[in-house]
């Protein structure tokens, strides 16, 4: 059965490629830092299960040390000039979109085919990882199509991939690091502590204030933890279930679903949700690393108000 581990092997190869591409770029004064960084990541994806917890911990510290000491840089070499890209864009026309669209298309059609045909019963792909596995398949197909059609230099994908990777740099592993921080937070009992604090300040007697505190609690806790998943069980235990559902008779489906979505408004406003908010800023080469958050706050706040109103008017009918 094809599962996540196959993807880890593929991803390890891609990170090793970033290391190789970085080593080839002599215009980057700090290239050996980049090589070390990507090599460690490749090692994590290939051998993570063999290293043991302490081994992985040391690997993490080494990755952090490289980033923290600013040992990574980026090269100044551009493989093609603006003019060459314009010419090539005119020459190949809209067909250039096809390899790029192959990736989402394979994931989309593949997932539908797999889930709604007898393929699902064959056990070919781990059901928990279907879309990601098919995304990997799409990447491989797109790479083959591009090489056959465009006939680039053999190492072009390695060089171009590492050019992009080095422009993003350490931000690429920040989401994974934050997930690890979440594991530590859970082990240290942060959730229970915050739940205890919240339950001390619950207002008595006002239904609207209780709803508001539930939604704001989801937002605040989500902003601290970087995702609403950690916040929900805590806020449900502190306010949602005892006060809103049991005491005031709210519809539990509304409390559950809209409570979680209130938390998502918090996700839009926090740098802790790095893969949604910080990584894209690096990926789009924004000057302000908080630029995406800044663009999201004016959507998040009215949407939070809408969610509070939905909670208040739909849950108590």
């Amino acid at each position: 059965m094809i599962n996540l581990h196959w993807l880890y092997v593929l991803a390890g190869a891609v990170f090793a490629g970033f290391a190789a591409g970085s080593a080839r770029d002599s215009t980057n004064p700090k290239r050996w830092g980049n090589v070390a960084f990507w090599s460690l990541l490749a090692a994590s994806f290939w051998f993570g299960d063999l290293l043991g917890d302490i081994g992985n911990g040391i690997l993490v510290l080494a990755i952090v040390a490289i980033a923290g000491a600013h040992l990574q840089g980026r090269g100044s070499k551009e493989s093609t000039s603006n003019e060459e890209r314009e010419n090539s864009s005119t020459r190949y026309g809209n067909k250039l979109f096809l390899p790029a669209l192959t990736i989402p298309f394979t994931a989309f059609v593949g997932t539908l085919l797999f889930n709604y045909t007898p393929l699902e019963g064959t056990g070919l792909i781990d059901p928990k990882a279907v879309t990601l596995v098919l995304l990997g398949v799409g990447v491989i197909i797109a790479l083959i199509v591009s090489y056959v059609w465009l006939r680039p230099l053999p190492l072009a994908a390695v060089d171009e991939g590492s050019r992009l990777a080095n422009s993003i740099g350490w931000a690429m592993v920040l989401p994974q690091m934050l997930a690890s921080l979440g594991v530590i937070f859970a082990a240290a009992g942060i959730g229970t502590t915050i739940g205890a604090i919240v339950s001390v300040i619950i207002p008595q007697g006002s239904l609207f204030l209780a709803v508001l505190l539930y939604a704001l609690g989801m937002v605040a806790f989500t902003m601290i933890m970087g995702n609403a998943f950690a916040a929900f069980p805590v806020m449900a235990a502190a306010i949602g279930v005892p006060i809103l559902i049991h005491q005031d008779g709210a519809n539990p489906a509304v409390i559950g679903a809209v409570g979680m979505l209130s938390g998502f408004c918090g996700t839009l406003m926090t740098p802790m949700a790095a893969n949604f908010n910080i990584v894209p800023a690096a990926l789009l080469e924004l000057k302000n690393q908080y630029g995406v958050i800044k663009a999201q706050i004016p959507t998040a706040i009215p949407l939070l108000i809408a969610n509070v109103l939905i909670l208040y008017f739909a849950a108590f009918r």
Partner: protein, 252 residues
């Protein structure tokens, strides 16, 4: 008796991010401090950190798309995205992003969350298209406006994902809600929960859609918000340099 000391780890994260230290360093230090204050021995903290990192490798899998995207950019993918938009007379940045928002919400509601995303679709296609459309509306973009259009492209992807995915019954967050409430003896089906994600999804489309309409209005004004001083030095930068290297430090 509740021990409040581990909360210091949260404070460290907030301070570290605010002072713009390297975020990887901030997170690692906060993790170690939180673990130690929570009563774990040092070796156990390191082991927990390593275990968490290893278990969460799937978070970083999406980066396998970079070689393909990079290769196609070498052949002018972003230039093509811009040319396509330039050929559509009625395309504007706001309209383009509204269409993308709708697609992203519907696809996510069908459970197809990883089909689109920042590396797969926003960087190579959506952002360059939005910038090209904005240039048609506004003429050459000053740096703040260009940043704003790109940031709105990323924001639109996030809003579409977050407020679409919970309509799908088998998404992780719906299963988490179901499991959390089941702990209190409240039994719900995923379907009951996902139906209640629809009103928020509609609100998200209306609110963010309105902002995109306002973005179009701002772009169609020749000089947005009084222009604001010190950016004329970058006006001459060719608009195609979106994917290129950052300008040297001295240029500002």
């Amino acid at each position: 008796m509740i021990d409040y000391w581990p909360l210091l780890g949260i404070a460290l994260v907030v301070i570290g991010f605010a002072l713009r230290f390297n975020p990887l360093l901030v997170v690692a230090v906060a993790a170690i401090v939180t673990g130690l204050l929570g009563g774990m021995p040092f070796a156990k903290v390191i082991a927990t950190l390593g275990h968490g990192f290893n278990e969460n490798r799937y978070v970083s899998i999406l980066w396998i798309v970079l070689p393909v995207i990079g290769l196609l950019e070498r052949y002018g993918l972003q230039e093509r995205a811009r040319a396509l938009i330039a050929a559509m007379p009625r395309a504007t940045a706001g309209r383009l992003l509204i269409v993308y928002l709708g697609f992203r919400q519907v696809l996510s509601a069908l459970g197809l969350t990883s089909v689109a995303g920042h590396p797969q679709t926003v960087r190579p296609l959506v952002a360059p298209m939005a910038v090209a459309a904005a240039e048609k509306q506004h003429g050459t973009l000053d740096e703040d406006t260009r940043e704003r259009v790109k940031a709105m492209s990323a924001a639109t992807d996030n809003v579409g994902l977050f407020f679409g995915e919970d309509i799908f019954i088998a998404i992780a967050s719906i299963l988490l809600i179901q499991a959390s409430l089941a702990n209190f003896g409240i039994q719900l089906t995923p379907f009951q929960l996902s139906v209640w994600a629809i009103p928020s999804a509609v609100c998200a489309f209306l609110i963010h859609g309105t902002r995109l309409v306002l973005l179009d209005r701002a772009l169609s004004r020749p000089s947005p918000f009084g222009g604001g001083g010190a950016r004329s030095a970058t006006e001459g930068t060719p608009s195609t340099s979106f994917a290129g290297p950052l300008p040297p430090e001295g240029e500002e």
